[in-house]
Amino acid sequence: MPRGYGRPVSKHVATVSLPGKDLLGIEGLSSSDLSTVLDTARGFKEVITRTVKKVPVLRGRTVVNLFFENSTRTRTSFELAARRLDADVINFDVATSSVAKGEALLDTIETIEALGADFIVIRHGSSGAPHFLAKAVRASVVNGGDGAHEHPTQALLDAFTIQERLGRIEGLRVAIVGDILHSRVARSNILALQKLGAEIVLVGPPSLVPDSFAAYGVEIEHTLRSGLRDADIVYLLRIQLERQRKNLFPSLDEYRLLYGINRERLGWAKPGALVMHPGPVNRGVEVTRDVMEMDESLITTQVTNGVAIRMAVFYLLQGAKSDVAAPGS
């Protein structure tokens, strides 16, 4: 059994794991699966605050980061998580490839299998690409964001961050503001936070928050003031500049005018409401700089917690395959 560096890790054999070999979305997880990830991440957060930040539970394993879309932040977070578990990491950067959508994925699968990957983290512009990959490979597939579908590790780290700060998720009211229609972060967060007992309100213009989202069992508000009422958490989504060109909203300026968060508008939410954002932030559009610097802003904490959550995910998926030592306690 491998020993941790710095302080010894507890010796119990992992009996916890996630259902199935892959993490494709929050959709397939139960609330107790979610709690398992959050509990495990707590142990890893302790690990990454030590001087020596490694536990060798993935020693000898290979993690392939397969990113068909640019994302230095998410890829780095996965990479750091894998390295802190002592895995070998290969970054497959196919974002710049001009090969047609889909074809590149099929072609790359064979190569990755041949490399002997144990884990494949995939980010892809097509919704369902991780599900397609998972059927084709033996390796564990982790969804690092697929189209407008899901971004499960983001939702997990967000839930972890909320729980860490407030000690609970159940009963909280979370307002998610912005381009819900095109957001995988929104979908995964709706599912995760609901499963953990939060109440969700979606806020944005009708073109970006269509009525079909009511099927999630969420509230829909089109004005910011009514959307923020009684909110414990104000979760802001990044506004994508290219959407504006498709006339889903008229201009960035108008978006800021109607939905941009500043100190005054934050007052429309519950006193002491926390501000979150998956990054990268369009400063001065979704949120002003001074709000980002408030103590109520969790934006940088989210980034730190991303590594702990991704370590937990690798660890739990590995747990389904073999006996490995659990970190912390």
Binding site: A100, K101, G102, E103, L105, L106, H124, S126, S127, G128, A129, H131, F132, D146, G147, A148, H149, E150, L181, R184, R187, P210, S212, F213, A215, Y216, K246
Partner: protein, 455 residues
């Protein structure tokens, strides 16, 4: 004289109001007589007791992909698939490479069908040259060499002026314009019906209004011109409403619906199932219900498969990169029989009518009958026995079917064109059938089987 007697089958021929056990006598490729207890004499005899005998089905909407798309289908494989589904006459769409917009294109399809096809094939020529929506094709010339209708299927005619002139001009020729109604600006990059399921899967949706806005526009143009508009593959309740209104006002509009839109909803896409990806997309249950009602009350005239073969390489892909369309010739009758007739919603006669005389009527033709003197195109059908539809039952070159593995309660036992057997189901035993040397070992007649028959 070649004579064939199909004995003791339950003949279902809505065109003559027949539904009882009878014999069908075929002489020289034509129906000679339909009545009880015909003396066989020197005729070859097929014992059809326990089976049903129906006029051959007519499909006014298929894609045979030849020329240019032979990787997914050819006229040979497509007509075999049709024969396996009980179809004896099909219309094939012009969205091939090159587009069927010239005499050469029409003649190519006709000559390939004669040499390699096993059933009757009618080419549909395009409305505009290259299907670019800009310049009308030579309708008169193309009809003169065998085109049966005109369509830019797969693409709508977006320019209302072009559509107006096309509708006006076809009045001269008495043929319908088969129009694929879709507003490409509203569809944009959509891949499935826009709604609850697309929201959940994160797939860009196609709004239902993308179809209905064009159905309404085209009905208005048909009203203004008096031309015959035929709306392809109706899929939404709003389109049904628009067609019903137009018909009520006396506009010459006919319409078809596909088996998949009658039996499936957008839920089939869950799991990113690319065999549930087609255009128009599968919609909601309310749409499906509206389509069933519309077929029942006559707002929609007939069933058409929109058989759209795509290779496995193309379909085995992420959802938004996979092409639109599924095959449907082999499964059309079995699926509809199982869904609607075994549940007593429809009579067998109703279903047969919607696949024989109803599509013929859209074309102002009197096909789809076993009336004496007509070409002996018919199928022998086994009903009631549940059987799994498997990949090996597919004769199309492509296997993009959502029904593989489904249990169906109908099988096409054998299909005859011009009195010659062109299909024998591999798992069904039919005494007297499939034994003739005309049938190849795989259960389908080779092209040369048609020698001697007058088409």
């Amino acid at each position: 004289m070649s004579r064939l007697l199909v004995r003791n089958g339950t003949v279902v021929d809505p065109s003559q109001g027949i539904h009882r056990v009878m014999d069908v006598l075929v002489e020289n490729g034509r129906v000679a007589e339909v009545r009880a207890r015909i003396d066989a004499g020197d005729a070859e005899v097929v014992e059809a007791a326990g089976f049903h005998v129906a006029p051959g089905f007519i499909d006014i909407h298929t894609h045979l992909r030849e020329p240019g798309g032979e990787g997914s289908e050819t006229i040979e494989t497509g007509t075999r698939a049709a024969a396996a589904g009980g179809f004896t006459r099909i219309y094939c769409m012009p969205n091939t490479t090159p587009v069927c917009d010239s005499e050469t294109g029409v003649q190519y399809v006709i000559s390939r069908a004669a040499s390699h096809g096993c059933i009757n094939v009618v080419p549909v020529a395009s409305i505009t040259k290259g299907m670019l929506g800009e310049e009308l094709t030579n309708f008169g010339r193309l009809m003169g060499c065998g085109a049966g209708a005109f369509s830019d299927d797969g693409r709508p005619v977006m320019n209302a002026e072009i559509m107006r002139r096309a509708l006006e001009y076809t009045k001269l020729l008495g043929v319908p314009l088969f129009e694929h109604c879709e507003d490409m600006n509203l569809t944009a990059e959509g891949h499935m019906n826009e709604g609850v399921v697309s929201a959940r899967l994160g797939i860009k949706g196609i709004p239902r209004v993308s179809e209905s806005v064009m159905v309404s526009r085209n009905c208005a143009l048909a009203a203004a011109t008096g031309g015959h508009l035929h709306v392809c593959h109706v899929s939404t309740r709003e389109s049904v409403h628009a067609i019903r209104e137009a018909r009520r006002n006396g506009v010459r509009v006919t319409a078809e619906v596909s088996p998949h839109h009658l039996t499936m909803t957008e839920d089939a896409v869950l799991g990113y199932n690319t065999n549930a990806k087609m255009k128009p997309p599968l919609c909601e249950k309310a749409d499906r219900d509206a389509l069933i009602e519309a077929l029942e009350d006559g707002t929609i005239d007939c069933i058409a498969t929109d058989h759209a073969p795509h290779s496995s390489q193309a379909k085995d892909n992420v959802f938004d990169a996979a092409p639109f369309g599924i095959i449907g010739l082999e499964t059309a009758f079995p699926v509809l029989y199982t869904t609607f007739v075994t549940t007593k919603r429809w009579t067998l006669d109703f279903l047969v009518e919607k696949m024989t005389t109803a599509p013929a009527k859209v074309m102002n033709a009197d096909w789809g009958t076993l009336r004496p003197g007509t070409q002996a195109d018919f199928s022998i059908i086994e009903l009631g026995e549940p059987a799994r539809f498997e990949r090996r039952h597919i004769f199309s070159k492509s296997i993009n079917s959502p029904w593989i593995g489904a249990t169906m309660k109908a099988r096409i036992a054998a299909t005859f064109v011009n009195g010659l057997q062109v299909f024998q189901h591999p798992d069904v035993v039919l005494a007297g059938a499939g034994t003739c040397e005309k049938l190849a070992a795989n259960g389908t007649a080779k092209p040369k089987a048609r020698k001697g028959a007058k088409a």
